[in-house]
Subunit: 203 residues, 2 copies
């Protein structure tokens, strides 16, 4: 069946979004081409009308993941002043919600190890671009402090955020996992110059 040009692009984007979600949840090697196509209501054979290979898909999906995460976040922080946007970002990042929803979360936490082991230059380049984007965003919200540049503080805060969520996901014990998130969130807020979270909002 012949389809319009817009139809083809719509399908491509649907496959890309499905891949970006599934790969964040299960890793790039944890999802098959057939799984992704089935999730979009197609069969695996059609995949190669849109992507040269699975490697090509992974590289494009990495860009898609950062775009997804950024869009979701900007929907919440539009027009907030710097301190509030930063506080919102930290609280949403270092949360049980983010921990439990890797499919829609930040690629840093879910994809870093897979990409570190991968020889796929395009995917890694896309990852670098994504990391720089987040660092720039954080640095723009942060004033320099005690002679440490905003950029340096951004790198340090981002590392703790990503590490906290990665650890909280890996740890099986619910109390230990919650403890890690809670302590890290408090430390990160303090380091970012934000007031402590209000008590009583969480159980």
């Amino acid at each position: 069946m012949r389809y319009s040009a817009e139809h083809k692009n719509e399908t491509r984007v649907k496959v890309l979004r499905a891949a970006a979600s599934a790969m964040r949840a299960h890793g790039p090697d944890g999802v098959g081409v057939a799984d992704i196509m089935r999730g979009v209501g197609l069969t695996h054979g059609g995949f190669y009308a849109h992507f040269r290979s699975k490697e090509d898909l992974i590289a494009q999906a990495v860009t898609q993941m950062f775009a997804d995460a950024r869009r979701r976040f900007q929907r919440v922080t539009a027009n907030l002043p710097a301190a509030e946007a930063l506080g919102t970002y930290i609280d949403r990042y270092v949360s049980t919600t983010h921990r439990d929803d890797a499919a829609r979360g930040c690629p840093l936490t879910s994809m870093a190890a897979d990409l570190a082991r991968s020889g796929d230059g395009a995917a890694r380049a896309a990852f670098d671009t994504g990391v720089r984007g987040i660092l720039d965003m954080l640095a723009a919200w942060l004033p320099a402090d005690c002679g440490v540049s905003a950029r340096a503080r951004a790198a340090s805060l981002l590392a703790e955020m990503a590490g906290a969520v990665a650890l909280a996901r890996a740890v099986h014990d619910a109390d230990l996992s919650a403890e890690i998130l809670c302590e890290c969130r408090a430390a990160i807020r303090a380091r970012a110059g934000l007031p402590p979270e209000q008590q009583g909002l969480s159980a």
Copy 2:
């Protein structure tokens, strides 16, 4: 050929060590049973004389990884006072050496994402034990500060250490990777109450 009881155990430990290295470098799904056995000079069929399944091997290898990392570290910090041991731990952890040698490094950075996706209860329990061990070790070196418990500070510092190395490994650009390690190491040392590193030691 019949072998002595010690021989069997020696083989088991050799397989376990080889698995612990290879899995940290390539992920548990990135190494095959046959690869590991070949690395020890045996064929794949003999594997099942030592382990019930690959899942069983992974769980035991996780324990082995933490033991390996701990032994390597204790060799360097034996009998050091707390502040020096802590400083040594941080400097070694957040380093290009550790970044470039995942096979002999901390399982937190290399295995967290894989275990988070895994349904293997035994492996995850072993990981929890390992995380608690590192947290206890760090907490013992850290005094409480500003009403924040040593344990809470340990969790926060460990998250940044693990996150920094994970990011530095994933990022492809050498400058960005080095920048992340350098800034995070400085921030972590400062937060741990240690003096800044001496300049001039690194190029």
